[in-house]
């Protein structure tokens, strides 16, 4: 097991487990055809790779279809309340450095009711792996538009079309200065697992957006990214150290905007090779990754998938624990002796 898959700095314990070990005895109850099944299978298939004992893994979720996820994994798990899983996970992570803590959330859970907790977990860089299932719709409440639904979306609650502009979860996470941000797709197990691997190896917060199909209320939302005829032209696969060239014929590339701040997609033939951007996940300034996150068109053309950003940053957990550890260094007395001294601190007087 590599150094990078250590849990919160705890020494790794070699454990040999299989996908079967991570299946719980609960009947899975998502709608037939839901993208969540594929994600569940990918995660169950990936977890043995961590080399971590099941009891050291915790999945916490909020509310929504995706948030039923913990029930189906044979690890420790908590299905909590709407939007609050990152906050609950923070309390667990900071007090239990020996655990691998994962948060399962959806677009409504993470970005609407729980938006505050998500951005604060990311800015603190709590050691959490946050898997955000984005299906661009409210599924469990039967089909209202979500904070990632496209503008003008017609749903039960927006018969005249949504007046909201959507969040781009990757842009949002980068705006909160998340130290690890990635995007993947439910149907591409190999890609999904490669992203999970990178997220697990990252010390600190990892936000993984997973495009997930809701075949009941928003079917085919990401179809152009999956269809064999279109996907190669639509998907920009991010690989660290590789030039950002994509398209079935490699006909597109990413270059810096002339005189502007950001990045743009241009025909490869029109760009000198030296001017094609080489992907680097380790750029400290989040502006590069943010510019990447702004490339997709409304029709999903130029959608980057893969790791946008993976930079080292002190984690909240480590900093808090270090403060405690440093405060305890000079302490030689027992806790009860310390408590006695604490009670007697300040101005006291004795009556006989």
């Amino acid at each position: 097991m590599s150094e990078s898959t250590r849990v919160n700095g705890a020494a790794p314990v070699p454990v040999t487990l299989t996908m079967k070990d991570f299946k719980s005895d609960q009947e899975v109850r998502w709608c037939p055809g839901c993208g969540d099944y594929a994600i569940l299978a990918a995660v169950q298939g990936f977890l043995p790779e961590l080399g971590i004992a099941r009891e050291k893994i915790v999945f916490l979720s909020g509310i929504g279809c995706s948030s039923r996820f913990p029930y189906y994994l044979n690890t420790y798990g908590m299905h909590s309340i709407h939007g609050r899983a990152p906050a609950i996970a923070t309390g667990l992570s900071v007090t239990r450095p020996d655990l691998s803590v994962w948060v399962i959330t959806g677009d409504g859970d993470a970005l609407s009711i729980g938006g505050n907790h998500l951005i604060h977990a990311l800015r603190r860089n709590v050691n959490l792996k946050i898997l955000l299932f984005n299906n661009q719709i409210y599924g469990l409440t039967k089909g209202q538009y979500s904070p990632t639904s496209e503008a003008g979306k017609i749903t039960k609650s927006t018969p005249a079309g949504s007046a909201d502009a959507p969040f781009n979860p990757v842009s949002l996470a980068l705006g909160a200065e998340a130290s690890f941000v990635a995007r993947t797709i439910d149907s591409d197990r190999r890609h999904l697992q490669s992203v999970l691997r990178a997220a697990a190896a990252h010390p600190g917060s990892a936000l993984v957006e997973i495009y997930q199909n809701c075949n009941i209320f928003n079917d085919g939302a990401f179809e152009p990214l999956k269809d064999a005829d279109t996907r190669d032209d639509f998907l920009l696969r991010l690989e660290h150290g590789r030039p950002l060239v994509f398209g079935a014929e490699g006909q597109w590339c990413v270059a810096r905007t002339a005189g502007g701040f950001g990045l743009e997609v241009r025909p490869t033939e029109a760009v000198a090779e030296a001017d094609i951007v080489v992907h680097d996940t380790g750029i400290a300034d989040p502006s590069y990754a943010f510019a990447l996150s702004r490339l997709p068109r409304p029709d999903l053309r130029h959608t980057p998938v893969g790791v946008f950003r993976d930079v080292p940053r002190p984690t909240y957990d480590d900093t808090v624990r270090q403060q405690v550890a440093e405060a305890r260094i000079p302490v030689t007395s027992t806790p009860r002796q310390q408590l006695t001294a604490l009670l007697h601190a300040g101005d006291t007087w004795t009556l006989t």
Binding site: A87, G91, V94, T95, H344, L351
Partner: protein
């Protein structure tokens, strides 16, 4: 008569005179009042500390505006600190000050109505300018128009005398002027023969990084002391003898400080790390501040992004096996409601401290009230019973915090601790407990499967406490999933079965009723009373003082005070039915009364006040007398 001299090491200002006579008083109530920026809380706090060391019994009442700096010299900007000290045990900060220190016209105007004729007023004459007088609506200078004729008024140019006294030191005029509160403290310390060494040490600590301010403040203090000694305005000084309190080591403590120490003690006694999730809110923030300084004992404090995250993080920590606590005030509890319900569904230990303030909404954030009782008992969705307890005095916050943790840990339930602004910021002498005498709060985590064939049943209950196992992540073989969805009995699996839900709802209620709480005690000297006064929380002092007055006047009256609001003590119904009348004074519109009537079918005589201030003993005495005389 004792010979006293001026403060050693400094020549007295002005000509030396013979030491003044000393008169003995049984008790004194002093109120320091000034502008928000005048340092009245600090002044009162120091005077209290000096007084505590003398062995007097003490009770204090800070009263300050919500604004950090309201417009200078205005009535809304007045901040005050009342200290009551006596040679016998006292229960309240006192009703009517014997001495008012008024640093400006606004302080005089805001407080004069609370004084009885004959009271002493010390005013800072520097501030009694036409502009300042006009600002608070004085048509004429009350120091000159005879309107204060029934009081003993001592005018002193506190600010200019302080500036003069500091002229030889290298401090700016602004810093010198700001030290006038120490001049006032020095004067009052002289008047009441307080030992001042601790104040000098305090000033050295407080301004350790500004030696010039240490010098300035100490010089101002000494100037004030020596002014008392030398000026002809004060012909006598006073002493209040130590109170005959039980033997032991004491310190003066506020409720918030005691509560923080109680939580630390519970952490030590349970051998669990204390995790506090909190969002700043008046008047609870001091608990966060205090606990954030105890990292040496393994305490982790998290200033969360909001109230919901604060309690959520505490639940997460509790899930992982820590002592999870969140501290807040009423508006915060409203926000935390959903998470408290989750914790009770998960059946995890959690302590929620509500330092109540006057509501609803932002209300009067620096004033006191006990109007969150119904929210604590009933303010959640569904059938959501939790344990509720309340401290009765500042020092009692220590014991109440330990009791809250005991119930939470033993019974795996959220516990709401209802403190309030009065006990949180008020102070009294606290006899320090022996750590060896504190309860053992250690818990046993689940370590082994408890079901058939090596399975783990996360909702298999202890037959006595009805608590489920506390199986923390990291325990091999006990992997399980919990959540807010209704659970099947024993297995904890998701269940939509109607009979199971009915069973689980009733079981969650039974869990709370199964908490063992001590019987309520009744103070009924002579056992002749026909009227019982029932209170809860911070009204203990005023009710006790009122009952004492009634008894001194020859009336029999019984007093009972509730620490446990949920579950209620087992003997409470019997106690209530023993009396012809049950009076329930509350700083709300009758919330405990409603509970008592509904639960025991015993009528009550409610007595309410929601002025943001604690009851005075006098008003309670009057109200109780009406009932006592009527039976």
């Amino acid at each position: 008569m004792t010979q006293v001299s001026d403060i050693s090491g400094e020549p007295a200002t002005g000509a030396r005179r013979a030491a003044k006579p000393v008169a003995r008083l049984e008790r004194v109530i002093i109120r320091f009042a000034g502008d928000s920026g005048d340092g009245m809380q600090l002044t009162g706090d120091r005077f209290t500390s000096e007084t505590a060391q003398l062995g007097n019994d003490i009770s204090t009442l800070p009263n300050f505006p919500a604004e950090i700096r309201a417009p200078a010299g205005t009535l809304p900007g007045v901040s005050s600190f009342q200290v009551h000290f006596a040679e016998y045990d006292i229960l309240t900060p006192g009703d009517k000050p014997d001495v008012l220190v008024a640093m400006n016209p606004a302080a005089l105007k805001a407080n004069i109505d609370d004084l009885e004729p004959g009271a002493t007023i010390i005013v800072n004459t520097d501030e009694f300018t036409p502009r300042n007088l006009k600002k608070v609506g004085y048509a004429a200078n009350p120091l000159e128009d005879g309107s204060l004729g029934s009081y003993h008024v001592h005018g002193a140019a506190l600010a200019s005398m302080t500036i003069d006294a500091l002229a030889v030191h290298e401090v700016s005029k602004k810093d010198a002027e700001r030290a006038k509160n120490m001049f006032a403290l020095g004067l009052l310390s002289w008047m009441y023969s307080r030992p001042y060494e601790s104040t000098l040490r305090f000033l050295e600590r407080k301004f350790a990084k500004r030696p010039d301010l240490v010098t300035a403040n100490i010089a101002a203090f000494k100037a004030g002391w020596n002014f008392g000694e030398t000026t002809e305005s004060f012909s006598v000084r006073y002493e209040v003898a130590p109170a005959p309190l039980p033997a032991g080591t004491y310190r003066n403590i506020t409720g918030n400080a005691a509560l923080a120490l109680g939580l630390v003690a519970a952490s030590v006694q349970s051998e669990l790390p204390l995790f506090l999730g909190a969002y700043p809110i008046t008047p609870a923030s001091d608990i966060l501040h205090a606990l954030s300084r105890h990292k040496d004992l393994g305490v982790v404090t998290m200033q969360a992004e909001d109230e919901i995250a604060a309690v959520g993080a505490a639940v997460g920590a509790a899930y992982g096996g820590a002592l999870g606590v969140t501290t807040t005030s009423g508006p915060g509890v409203a926000l935390k409601g959903e998470t408290i319900s989750l914790a009770l569904m998960l059946e995890l230990p959690l302590v929620i401290v509500d330092v109540q303030r006057a509501g609803p909404s932002t209300g009067l954030p620096t004033k006191t009230e006990q109007a969150d009782l119904h929210m604590a008992l009933f303010g959640r969705h569904g059938e959501a019973p939790v344990a509720v307890i309340a401290p009765r005095s500042p020092a009692d916050c220590f014991d109440a915090a330990i009791e809250a943790c005991r119930i939470a840990l033993t019974h795996r339930t959220p516990v709401i601790l209802l403190s309030d602004n009065y006990v949180a910021n008020g102070s009294e002498p606290w006899r320090l407990p022996e750590v060896a005498d504190l309860p053992d709060l250690r818990v046993a985590f689940a370590t082994e499967p408890n079901g058939p064939d090596g399975t783990f049943l996360p909702y298999l209950r202890d037959p006595v406490t009805l608590a489920r196992p506390w199986a923390v992540p990291g325990t091999p073989g006990l992997e399980h999933r919990i959540g807010g969805l209704e659970k099947a009995d024993k297995t904890g699996a998701i269940s939509y079965d109607p009979a199971n839900h009915d069973h689980m709802v009733r079981t969650r209620a039974a869990r709370i009723e199964a908490i063992r709480v001590p019987d309520v005690e009744v103070a009924d000297p002579g056992a002749a009373a026909r009227v019982l006064v029932l209170g809860w929380g911070s009204t203990y002092g005023p009710i006790g003082a009122a009952c004492r007055r009634l008894r001194q006047g020859g009336h029999a009256v019984a007093q009972a005070h509730l620490r446990h609001l949920a579950p209620l003590p087992g003997n409470l119904g019997d106690v209530l039915r023993r009396y012809d009348k049950v009076v329930v004074p509350e700083m709300n519109l009758g919330q405990l009364s409603t509970v008592i009537r509904a639960r025991y079918l015993v009528d009550t005589v409610p007595y309410h006040q929601v002025r943001g201030l604690p009851f005075t003993a006098a008003e309670l005495e009057t109200a109780l007398l009406e009932v006592v005389a009527d039976v």
